[in-house]
Each structure stands twice: as structure tokens, then as C-alpha cells.
Amino acid sequence: MRFRVPQRFRRSAIGLDYGATTFRAAQLQRRGPLWIASRLVQSEHSPSESTPTNEEGAKEDSFFERLQLAGFHGRKVALALNMPDVEYVSLELPEVMLAQDPTQTKNAIRFEMERLISNHKGAVEIRHWRLPATNVPAPNALGAAASSSSITKMLDTTRRLGLTCTAVDSAALAQSRFAHVLRPPQPGRVRGVLDLGHVQSRLIVCIDNIPVLVRAVGAGGLILTQRISQSLKLSEKASEVLKREHGITVLGQRQRVAPEGSVLPLEMLNPVAHASTPVLSRVESSPTTQLGSTLFAAVRTDLSELASEIKRSYEYVLSCYPDRQAGDLLLVGGGAGLPHLYEFLGNALGIPVLRAEDCLQHSECRLRCVTTKNDPLDGYATVIGLALEE
């Protein structure tokens, strides 16, 4: 027998993400089919500051008080593990094995995963989920492995902070849930969620909201800042400000972004081959755009590699699911706010590249929240995904 608080009074667990530079927390409230982000909080900290994952822990007294002061309810929190703390492995298992007893299946997958994972030594926690069926030889399960010691440390730290950790989820799954609530997947399409983190960028490719591929695709925001700093001989702080304010601009290049809802064939991922794609705008030269162009020149290599990796990933997934077509790409994470990045990626990939802010106005969006320019929704993707309890 379980006792449940009525839905309208119930609040989700607090989604917590103690990133490399930013601490974020979110709590949601359910109103019918909608999710209301009742509390969204972020605060920046120096990378050297201790995090809840460290055994030394953050300042115990202040942490819970900070959450309470921010208006969060309850002590239940959900945390996320991101790459490289969690390692994803595509598994191609015999259907007979997947159909057998769950315990035996788990044991078999554990054996296979321990053989394949490279980053983790010692005890690991292994989870897996089934992938959508396909008619070509392709992986049919995706395994995720996380170090037991890091999980135990997280649990101990949250306990010391006076919080109750109800779940340690994968950040990729949390972000895919966020994307699902933000905009339901279109049937027959492959959707991507690009998490532009501080150190690393990660791509989650989903089919019917199930992540089928999770991988690191390139540099994070820190690397881009360092490139600008090296190129323009500026301090990293100044470079960061420039990057955030001006972003990147590709001068003299037509922006080729497919309109939303259009069907995109696999070949369209090649930016060179398809000049017939609708042209939405042409970038004009101005002092601001010239500065953006300079910044772009500094990070061009990294962004091109990023686009190339995304393209490769899409191509791989589309090869595994030949009956599917390329869908939109959602940018999340702190780096998603880089001005004109989505235009660059849209131009390079030829698919609709969306920011979370843009999706909020969409009729199918089931998330309601209030954000500002200085506090965009992109960074909250993981914590909102963690707080979602569908």
C-alpha cells in the first residue's frame, strides 16, 4: 500500500547537476499534461571548488540551506552522471539472450560490458535499455557503465548534505527526456540532442525518444575559449566574454537551414551537395559581424570537427535505421548560448537546429518556465530531465 500526495500538490524530486563551472537545480510541478518548472536555480563556481561528488564534500551547512532559500521543497534529489563518469557501449546481443530471464540477461550484459568498457577499473554498475527494432544488423541494446565508487561517493555526499538521493541517472537519458517534453519526436525521424558542456560536447541520438547512440563529439566551451584566447592574445576571461557576447559569424556564406517539419533525406547532411536547400538569410558585413568572424576563425577547426562528428553520428544511426530520416538537432548545455552556433550547425548539417528557448513557444511543448537572457533554458536540460517523473 502506498500513500501518494495529490498530483497538484506534488513536486518532483530536485534535479541537481554540479557541473564543472555551474551548479544547477530544478524542481517541477505537474499540471495535467504540462510540467511547470517551479524552481530553477543556477550559480557559478570555480572549477577548483569541491563538488558533491567529492568525498570532502561541499560546505554541508550551506548547501541544503541554499536549496531551501531558493524555494525548493523536500530533500529528495536526483543526480546525473555524465561522460566520462559513465561509459556507453552499443551491444548487439542475440535476441534469445534478451528474451530469457532478466537476471540472466543482466549477468550476460554485465559480462559483455566488463569486457568492452575501457575507462572504468574496479566494480561498476551496469544498466542497459533496449533499442528500437530494425531490419538490418545493428546494435539492439545500449549499455551504460558507471563506477560503483563514484556512485557511492555521490550517495554519501548527498547524505551528508542532508539530502536523500532517489536516483543517479544518466545525463544523456535526462537530456533526451527534456527534449521529449520540450518537443515530442516526429514519427520516422532521428533526433539529436547536442550537449555543449564546459569540457566536452556530447551527442545523444534518439529514435522515438530512446537514445540509440551517446558519444563525445568534440571540444567543449572551455576549449573554444582557449582557442580564442590563443588566437587573439587575450585572457581567458576576456575571451569568454567576447565569445558569449558576439559569438561566431560566417561572413559571406549563405545560411542553409531546413525549415522545421521538412523531410530531410540522408544525403542532405552533406552541406556541399545540396545548394537547393532553402536559403533563409544572408549575413551582411558589419563591425560586429567582423568580430564574430574573427572569433569564428579561431574556433573554426573545432566547430568543423564538431559538425563532422555529428554528421558521422547521424549517418551511422541512419545506416542502422534505413527507414528513418534525419530530424532536428536540439542544442542544450551552457555552450548552447553561443550566438549564431545553431545557424552554423544548421548550415553545416542541413537540418533544423533548435535552441530550447525557441521550443518553449511551440504548441506541442509541455514545459512551462520563465527564463531570462542571462539565465537561458539550455543549461537546465539535465536537471529538468532529472526532475521529470513520467
Partner: protein
Amino acid sequence: MTRVNFIPEANQVAARLRGRAISWGVALAAAGTLATVPIVYHWLRQEQVSDLNEELARFQTDTEQIRRDIRALSVVDTSLRARLDRARSLRQKRTWTGVVERVVVALPENCWLASLGTEPATPPPPSNRPAPSTPPPANGPNQPADAAKQEPLDSPRKLRVAGFAPDAAHPYELVQNLKATTMFSKVTLNRSVREITAEGEFYRFDVECEW
């Protein structure tokens, strides 16, 4: 939506059991509280009834005491009323020196009195007296035994004047003089008869004066 939880199964089971234990604890506490409410209410009502019964007994005792006091005060009241009546009766008594003086002044010359008395000569017996205005008190422990025997003194209603007059007109003159005093409401000559004595012939008269 796809979801994984890297928390070890054993920890999850323990947390689930702990959560259930807390839920059951809360439920049992709530049920216990709910069950206690009517019991406590009943107990409080019983206490209230008990208090009220005690208060009623106290009131009854007080009432009994007040009744006894009332009875005692009634006796005192009766006694005081009797004393008041006696005082009133005494106040109504006339000053006999004044009465005798008026009678003597009213007596014509050469007449003399043979007797002067009141009627009735003594107070009437108690059975003839009217009932007191307040009801007689119930027999109480404090009632004095001789309270009923104390009767107020009654004043005389009539004055009888008897004497001799040398002339027949003198008794009538006496009556006129007595009436003129306005001391009496009614003056009646009851008798006036001629008598022959050794000293001569005289008229024996008997006058009755009513106040």
C-alpha cells in the same frame, strides 16, 4: 521515457523498504490519532459530565442550606412582625391621664363620676385575633417554641363613663361636651335614671364613648 538508476539494487530496495516503513508509520500514526480523537472526546465529555454532576450536588447542598436559612429567617421575620404589631398596638394606646382630663373637663358642674373603665377591660383571647398576613413558617429546628404565644396587646375600643348628676340635663350636657372634644368617634348615652339616695335625688348616667 527511458530511465536508469545507477544506485545499486540493494540500496534501492533498502530505500524502498525504508520509505514504506515511514509511510506505514505515518499511516499508523494518523490512524492512531484518528482513533484517539473519539476516545479523547468521549473521555472529555465524561469528565465534563462528572464536573457538572459535582457542581449539581454542590448546588443542591447550597440550595438546602439556603432553604434552611430561609426557614430560620422566616421565623425571625414572624417574630419581628409580632414585635412590630405589639409596638404598633402600644403606639395606639392613649394616654389615660389625657383621657381622664378631657372627661373631667367635659363633666358638668355638680356631677361626679362613679366609674371610668374601658371595654373590653382585658385583651381578647388569641383565637379571636385575625390571622397574620405572612404564612406561618414551617417547623424548623431554629423555630422558638414560644413564638406563637407572643400576641400583641390590644387597645381598648370603648370607654364607659358612669356617674351621678343632680339634674337630668347634665348627662346630655356631658355627651355634648365629650363629642366636642373630637377625641371619640361616637358618644352614646346608654342610661340616665333617677335614683333617690340618702343625700337626695340624683340621676345616674352611663355614657359609652367609642374611639
